[in-house]
């Protein structure tokens, strides 16, 4: 067979170019790695020239890959698997960028692109560090290029290429259609691609992933500098040049993570900005250790008290980025996360990538040459034996144990020995403590996120734990033997329980950190400067406790409230008090204020978020199970105006605009109801008469003794016509919201929220459930009940008694319709299922002509939101269509104080950039 077929319309050159460029980028990175290594070892300028040229070729190749892939996406060349899977012709062109990084390959490409950009900046800026630092960059680029090559190493596929034609996919090889030259026009599936997941068709998804991956890529700079420092035995000097990049990374990664939060809040229907989802956690954890790294670099620049910890955190941060991408891309998270990738055979490649960098890091940490050689040798043996004997998990565990013990051994080396103990009241001491707390916090998060990984690691030891359990009867041994650990049921509660104390310590340190001096702090001055912030924080805390009604059991929240407001105030006051308003130096103070505000906003909005949509009808869910919550969502009939929180809401109906189905909701102010003396109201099945003119209070039981007298006797009719008591009535229209459902037959429909923003709170609403195929008359699809006269029908909302059928044969009807027609009227009594005093009558009509149903007149009961249509009458047997008025199920949540969080985000990013700029400028001057 061979490649004799000439295919039509495939644009095969693009794929070939893409493959070629991928190989070129791999070769360029490899050559750069070798020549930069030789340059570092020999210091011969010639090697540097070669290395730079190689890295440049590598860079151009990556840019070429990016351009090629974009070209393929823009031109809709659906012969390519990546284009077919991630785009279609219908989607708006502005989301082509989202298609680019929706898949594994595209997001790797994004990552390698940013690392390449940073590598070039370092070639330009790093001076004497260029050799070792860019060599390490070239190493990571070699691995990232491998991920795009999609090559096979001993039967194991490593990575996957975005340039594969669908006919080249392993599962399609050899299928008959792949030999048709015109298969693209013959097979309808190739006409259009699968399209982009509607969740990602959002402007946040255009900017969030590139920012996040830029952040991930920038965590590599401190890693590369740390390796370079160890390699060239400049154990202290690497910190100075690494410092501005590290803080730059903190700003970019932090912004990227928070953009993810903003995306979740604005476009997803999770109901919040942070859910402690494994994928979110995986991006947060490296940020925490990166912040720790940055602050340790600050200390050690002044005084080498914690060199090893600085090395350790700088190396760990990037290893955690690799671990994160392993978690989210390999498919191990599977059942625990809603939005992780599903493997696609990436696991072996990712694992080798991660373990190699662990080995590089630990080997570099061992400054003793003998130890290093021993470690590398033993690791190599474990690798080879593990693969050869296919005992992967024990090999990984053994390698892990060896690596940890060698890292501990390395930490004892003389090079890292600290000079002397620092003062208790010194900045360096507390910065050090803060970094360790950040590390602990990161470890707790990653530990709880790693449950699925533990299951994999535990699996081979099944028999061991089983026999341990048999021998001892220990329950936990049996649990471990099962290897079925699942994430905590109450994920939010679990993480909050652990992270609130960590956040408290961090906030307190953020508050005092700026006022501590390096080496030694004047105690009196220290407390004098912090006085106002302390008083202010106490006042804010008291105000919040009173206003937001924090209880005693929430003492941890109150403590964090105090700590975060203390931190925000102390850093804000630092600018006028200590810096005398000099804003160029205020970067750290602004960033720390922002950080404290992020925590404060997150604390207030999540601890005091409340659902104002309440389900008031039907069985109480908490009777079914005590953990069930009755106030999650509410039902809105079209046209009804019902109270919601401090407002009234009316659902006006839906309208379609393109793929979006909008649900129009009007919100009205709630005004207190005025009653006049003599007004009669109904409360349950009792009647009350107003004694005087008054404005209703919130609770009838409070109003009743003062303003209302119960009526001892009343007729059924009076009860019937009396209005229910209610405290408030709708006033002027305040605003409108339009939660929407994006229709997407392939990926399933997706609800997008609509949020009203105020300065101090947000009202977040989204459609939880809606029938999309409602009839035009504003009613839901009918249900047919077939019964006999005398029967009772129980529908979800009402009880129907079928009393009788009347056949109309009066002269007027017969004269008008003719003698062949028969008119039937069904006499029914209808009762509200949840209120046995609300009775209605219904008389639907059907007209027959020669046993054929030729017309009917339905009967509408607006009070019960139902309509009855008589479908058939056969003797005593009737078919009755019951349809409910159109409704939608909506969830509405109030998030108080969420703007504090967004303001904090902006300040944090802004302050960090100011600080980085100041560092870069200050260095240039000196």
């Amino acid at each position: 067979m061979g490649n004799s077929v000439t295919y039509i319309g495939e644009h095969a050159w693009a794929g070939e170019l893409g493959h070629l460029l991928t190989i070129l980028s791999f070769a360029g990175a490899l050559l750069a790695l070798v020549s930069y290594t030789l340059y570092t070892q020999t210091n011969e300028q010639g090697w540097r020239t070669v290395a730079r040229a190689a890295f440049r070729v590598h860079s151009l190749a990556i840019i070429g890959i990016v351009v090629t892939l974009f070209t393929m996406l823009f031109n809709h060349w659906f012969a390519y698997d990546y284009v077919w899977k991630h785009s279609n012709t219908e989607m708006p062109l502005r989301y082509i960028a989202s298609c680019f990084w929706e898949g594994q390959e595209g997001s790797f490409l994004l990552w390698t692109f940013w690392t390449m950009v940073l590598g070039n900046i370092l070639i330009w800026k790093a001076k004497s560090w260029e050799g070792p630092v860019v060599a390490v960059f070239a190493l990571v680029q070699v691995f990232l290029a491998t991920m795009l090559l999609g090559i096979y190493v001993f039967d194991v596929r490593v990575g996957s290429s975005p340039f594969l034609l669908i006919r080249e996919l392993p599962e399609n090889l050899g299928l008959p259609w792949t030999n048709l030259p015109d298969y693209l026009t013959m097979i309808p599936q190739f006409k259009d691609g699968r399209g982009l997941n509607p969740l990602l068709q959002n402007y946040w998804m255009v900017i969030h992933p590139p920012t996040l991956f830029f952040g991930f890529a920038s965590t590599f700079i401190p890693f590369a500098f740390a390796i370079a420092g160890l390699w060239t035995k400049r154990y202290k000097e690497w910190m100075e040049p690494a410092l501005p990049y590290t803080f730059f990374g903190i700003a970019v990664l932090g912004t990227g993570i928070l953009m993810g939060g903003a995306w979740a809040y604005e476009a997803l229907s999770f109901g919040g900005f942070w859910a402690w989802d494994p994928v979110e956690n995986a991006s947060l954890v490296p940020w925490l250790t990166l912040v720790g790294t940055g602050h340790l670099l600050l200390i050690n620049k002044r005084k080498d008290t914690s060199i090893f910890t600085a090395f350790f955190l700088a190396l760990l941060t990037f290893l955690l980025v690799l671990y994160s991408s392993f978690l989210t891309r390999s498919g191990v998270l599977g059942d625990t996360s809603v939005h992780s990738f599903t493997g696609e055979g990436m696991l072996p490649g990712l694992l080798i990538f991660m373990l190699t960098f662990v080995m590089v890091a630990v080997a570099a940490l061992n400054t003793d040459k003998g130890n290093r050689r021993f470690y590398v040798a033993i690791s190599a043996v474990i690798f080879v034996l593990g693969i050869a004997l296919q005992v992967y998990v024990p090999a990984i565990l053994l390698f892990g144990a060896v690596s940890v013990s060698m890292a501990v051994t390395a930490s004892r080396a003389g090079e890292f020995r600290r000079a002397d103990e620092e003062e208790l009241l010194s900045r360096e001491f507390w910065l050090f403590i803060g970094s360790l707390v950040l590390l602990l916090s990161a470890m707790q998060i990653i530990f709880s996120t790693s449950m699925p990984v533990f299951n994999l690691l535990l699996a081979p030891f099944h028999t061991m734990f089983e026999s341990l359990h048999d021998a001892t009867g220990w329950g936990w041994a049996q649990d471990l033997a099962k290897a079925k650990l699942a994430p905590p049921v109450e994920a939010k509660a679990h993480y909050n329980k652990w992270q609130i104390p960590f956040a408290f310590i961090i906030s307190m340190l953020v508050a005092i950190g700026q006022y501590l001096r390096y080496k030694k702090t004047d105690k009196k001055k220290f407390f004098r400067e912090l006085r106002f912030s302390l008083i202010g924080a106490a006042a804010i805390t008291a105000l919040c406790v009173w206003w937001l009604e924090y209880k005693w059991v929430e003492v941890n929240l109150v403590a964090l409230l105090f700590a975060t407001s203390f931190a925000a105030l102390a850093n804000a006051f630092y600018i006028p008090m200590v810096l005398k308003g000099n804003l160029t130096k205020a970067g750290p103070a602004i960033a720390h204020t922002g950080f404290a505000l992020v925590l404060l906003g997150a604390l207030i909005s999540t601890s005091r978020q409340h659902e104002i949509s309440r389900n008031v009808k039907g069985p109480v869910l908490s009777y079914l199970n005590k953990d069930f919550n009755d106030s999650k969502e509410m039902l809105l009939y079209v046209g009804d105006t019902v109270p919601i929180g401090d407002y009234f809401v009316t659902y006006n109906g839906k309208r379609q605009d393109g793929v979006n189905l909008y649900y129009d909701m009007d919100y009205f102010a709630a005004e207190p109801r005025r009653f006049q003396a003599g007004d009669t109201v109904r409360v349950r099945s009792m009647l009350f008469r107003a004694k005087d003119d008054h404005t209703a209070g919130n609770i009838f039981l409070v109003d009743q003794p003062i303003h209302w007298e119960p009526l001892e006797t009343f007729t059924r009719q009076e009860l019937w016509y009396a209005r229910n008591w209610s405290a408030r009535l709708p006033g002027a229209k305040e605003f409108a919201l339009e939660p929407l459902v994006q229709l997407n037959p392939r990926f399933g429909n997706v609800a997008e929220p609509s949020t009203k923003h105020w300065a101090d709170h947000d009202l977040y609403t989204h459609v939880r459930y809606a029938k999309l195929d409602t009839a035009a008359d504003g009613f839901m699809p009918a249900r047919l009940y077939e019964k006999n006269v005398g029967d009772t029908i129980v529908t979800p909302t009402c009880v129907i008694l079928i009393d009788s059928i009347r056949t109309v044969r009066d002269s007027v009807t017969l004269a008008r319709l003719g003698p062949d027609f028969t008119v039937y009227i069904l006499n029914m009594r209808v009762r509200d299922l949840y209120d046995d005093s609300r009775w209605f009558e219904a008389k639907p009509v059907v007209i027959y002509h020669d046993d054929q149903n030729v017309g009917s007149k339905g009967f509408d009961i607006p009070e019960l939101n139902v309509k009855f249509d008589l479908a058939t009458v056969k003797g005593d047997h009737v078919g009755l269509n019951v349809s409910e008025r159109e409704f939608v199920i909506m969830q509405a949540i109030v998030f108080p104080g969420i703007n504090i969080l967004w303001i904090g985000c902006i300040l944090m990013a802004l302050g960090t950039f100011v600080a980085v700029r100041q560092r870069v400028r200050g260095k240039r001057k000196s």
Partner: protein
């Protein structure tokens, strides 16, 4: 004892406490029969929607209650009360993870559920038709 040693000890103690605490908070995956052996204990149960039984969601009765039947990976069936509005793509789901507890009457009360849908991220590329 030097201060650094005290710090190291405190850090190690907190780390161990955090690890054990996190482990004790963890739930576990279970089959339905395991869940019913210990009613009232929270489990993650993996399975699929039992398509032979109807999904009952009556929003006008209770907008936060969905009833359906599931089959776990061992093929055991059970009725589920899910305290959520019916997810739009429940019918098309290929895998469910229910988080909740069993009761003594043979029902599973789930307060949360993760859905995996075939096409969400990973629909395999199947272009075989047309020939």
């Amino acid at each position: 004892m030097k201060r650094s040693h005290i710090i190291a000890l405190v850090i190690i103690a907190v780390a161990i406490a955090a690890l054990i605490g996190s482990l004790s908070d963890s739930s576990s995956y279970a089959s339905l029969s395991e869940a019913f052996e210990q009613p009232g204990r929270e489990f993650h149960v993996v399975g699929t929607l039992d398509r032979s039984q109807p999904i009952v969601y009556e929003p006008s009765v209770n907008s936060s209650l969905t009833k359906f039947s599931m089959v776990d990976l061992n093929g055991k069936k059970c009725n589920v009360n899910l305290a959520m509005a019916k997810p739009n793509d429940l019918e098309r789901s290929e895998r469910l993870v229910l988080i909740g507890q069993a009761d003594a009457d043979g029902n599973f009360h789930a307060k949360d559920m993760l859905l995996k849908c075939p096409s969400k991220y990973n629909e395999e590329n199947k272009v075989t038709a047309g020939i």
